[in-house]
């Protein structure tokens, strides 16, 4: 059959991409062996001394590792929850706006921060919350003393979560807005005839229509429990807020590429990769079983 003759072309099409995957994704996976070695860059992967699970034991003995795991978890979960809820509330409010032009304007503007990098945005955040930033200036007008917000470990997590939600709420709301356009308008009319007020319409018609989307997004975000956002933290933090702001990814970066503890950093990275892999796998399974969602 002619179609079977197409197969060699299919292989040919896949070839460049597969070569890339092997070179840049699969080959580095062998580097994981370093986590079980006392890696010596001079000797290389094959000649370095094997130490079994020593690196992992040592990692968990370090005080930093506990701090970092706790921070990662708190920041990531905070972001996951608020990034589900705030866009939901925003989408519902936006849906209630009657002026189409105003709606369009708000939508256009709130999507924008998503497309700016954390490098740009953190420079701006530091400018606004810095010692000579606009927050302190305005607070000063009301008689408050200026504060070093960026160096205050007590509020750093809230600052991280807050600015992340600010950056993404518009963009994250797109999917809810799409679900909202799918609601049958007759439902609203029927409820209104039964005497429902605005709040009751939202509560009994709009919200139930969004539940599936919220649950699905929630399940899919499970895999991000150890992803607290490297770009953001790296660009906003400083040694004064390590105690609450240092996360696994930034810690691995400092251990590995700045302190050159290759084996330890690889062990920490592997720990994160394995847990994330399992979580994503579970979340996709759940999404498939309960929401009929498939990735491929």
């Amino acid at each position: 059959m002619r179609k079977l003759g197409h197969q060699k072309h299919y292989y040919l099409m896949l070839l460049p991409g597969m070569v890339w995957l092997v070179m840049f994704s699969i080959v580095p996976m062998f580097g994981i062996l370093m986590a079980f070695q006392n890696y010596n860059p001079g000797a290389g992967l094959l000649q370095s001394q094997w130490v079994g699970l020593e690196n992992f034991k040592y990692m968990f003995q370090l005080n930093d590792s506990k701090t970092v795991i706790v921070n990662t978890f708190i920041i990531a979960v905070g972001k996951i929850v608020l990034n589900l809820l705030i866009p939901l509330i925003f989408a519902i409010l936006l849906n209630e706006i009657r002026s189409l032009r105003y709606k369009k304007l708000v939508q256009t503007v709130v999507y924008l921060p998503h497309f700016l990098s954390w490098v740009i945005l953190s420079t701006i955040v530091i400018g606004i919350f810095g010692y000579y930033g606009v927050v302190n200036t305005v607070a000063g007008m009301f008689g408050f003393d200026p504060k070093l917000f960026m160096a205050d470990s007590g509020i750093f997590r809230q600052l991280l979560i807050g600015t992340d939600v600010w950056k993404e709420f518009g963009y994250n709301s797109i999917i809810y807005l799409a679900a909202l356009t799918g609601i049958n308008l007759n439902l609203y009319e029927a409820a209104a005839i039964d005497g429902a007020n605005r709040w009751q319409l939202i509560r009994h018609v709009t919200l139930p229509a969004l539940t599936t989307t919220v649950v699905l997004l929630g399940v899919l975000s499970l895999g991000n429990v150890l992803n607290a956002g490297f770009d953001q933290v790296y660009n906003l933090y400083n040694p004064l807020v390590y105690s609450t702001g240092d996360i696994l990814d930034t810690w691995v970066y400092r251990l590995g590429l700045q302190n050159l503890q290759y084996s330890l950093a690889t062990a920490a990275g592997l720990f994160k990769s394995v847990i994330s892999f399992v979580l994503i796998f579970i979340s996709y399974r759940l999404a498939y079983r309960y929401a009929d969602y498939t990735v491929f």
Partner: protein, 295 residues
């Protein structure tokens, strides 16, 4: 929508307009603030006097930037990287998506390749092995480290694959009857039918390449090889690792930064994004929906 004109309903409308207005301002103000600082008088900006409009007026930072070779160099590297990286990744994506969109009876190894792809998407070797691998390929300090580093975005492959699968079968069947092979089906039937999706993916890829700073930081050893975002990132207070810092020292360090000049650089780095944004907007909604909703 239901017409509801009770007092409660109108109060809700008013409150809603105000709340959304505040959110709108919260998203635009930081950009405006940055612009105001950049054209304000240096001493006023350093003292934190700028709030809602520029204080004094000075274009000195912009004049300084015009003579800043390193800044334009970084800008140019970012442009090259974005163009090359986006084309490379898009080509890879399309080439992989087509065979994977074939049903299993047409392409026997389809599922095997699919599993490899998904595994590579979900699992990685981590930072250090990745870095050492790229070092072994001698890509450090070359633009190819940045271009290839973006590589094959597996998620986009899956996205386009799903789109291809939903194209009517009759299209490719008719092409086969006319004697077309896989290459001409892909390039003359599938790609022309998928322009809006491909545009969305291309835009996401180019936003990624424009915004990415980490590969630039790690894979480039000298600052004249940095892309723009890495260059900007280096402007923010850089505190050496392992230093025991007191809040007082931190405050001193942050005073050293040249606020008007940095703001001007940040603002210029935003300009390309702000220019393409209106065009981009048409596509990204369809892009995000593609990733989310499938038949």
């Amino acid at each position: 929508m239901v017409r509801n004109t009770t007092l409660g309903s109108r109060t809700f409308d008013m409150a809603n307009i105000v709340i959304l207005g505040l959110l709108l301002i919260s998203c635009i103000y930081p950009l405006w603030y940055t612009f105001c600082v950049s054209i304000s008088d240096k001493s006023a900006a350093n003292a934190g006097l700028v709030t809602i409009y520029p204080i004094g007026f000075s274009l000195t930072p912009y004049k300084e930037i015009i003579n800043d070779r390193l800044f334009f160099n970084a800008f140019w590297i970012s442009i090259q990287r974005t163009v090359l990286g986006t084309s490379f990744s898009l080509l890879m994506t399309v080439l992989m998506a087509y065979p994977l969109a074939r049903p299993k009876k047409d392409f026997k190894m389809r599922n095997t390749f699919m599993w490899i792809l998904v595994f590579c998407m979900l699992f990685n070797g981590g930072l250090i092995p990745w870095y050492l691998t790229i070092q072994n390929y001698h890509l450090i300090n070359t633009i190819w480290a940045l271009v290839l580093g973006g590589g094959v975005p597996v998620f986009d492959v899956i996205l386009i694959m799903n789109f291809f699968r939903n194209l009517p079968k009759e299209l490719s069947e008719a092409a086969v009857v006319d004697g077309a092979g896989p290459w001409s089906i892909l390039f003359r039937v599938y790609i022309p039918c998928s322009i809006p999706v491909l545009a969305a993916v291309a835009l996401f890829l180019s936003v990624y390449h424009w915004n990415e700073f980490f590969n630039g930081l790690v894979l480039m050893n000298t600052s004249d090889k940095y892309p723009l975002q890495t260059y900007i990132q280096q402007l923010v207070v850089n505190i050496p690792v392992g230093t025991n810092l007191t809040p007082e020292q931190y405050k001193k360090l942050s005073e050293l930064s040249n606020r008007t000049l940095n703001s001007a650089k940040v603002f210029i780095a935003m300009v390309p994004m702000l220019i393409v944004y209106p065009f981009l907007q048409r596509y990204f909604v369809s892009g995000i929906m593609l990733g989310a909703v499938k038949e």
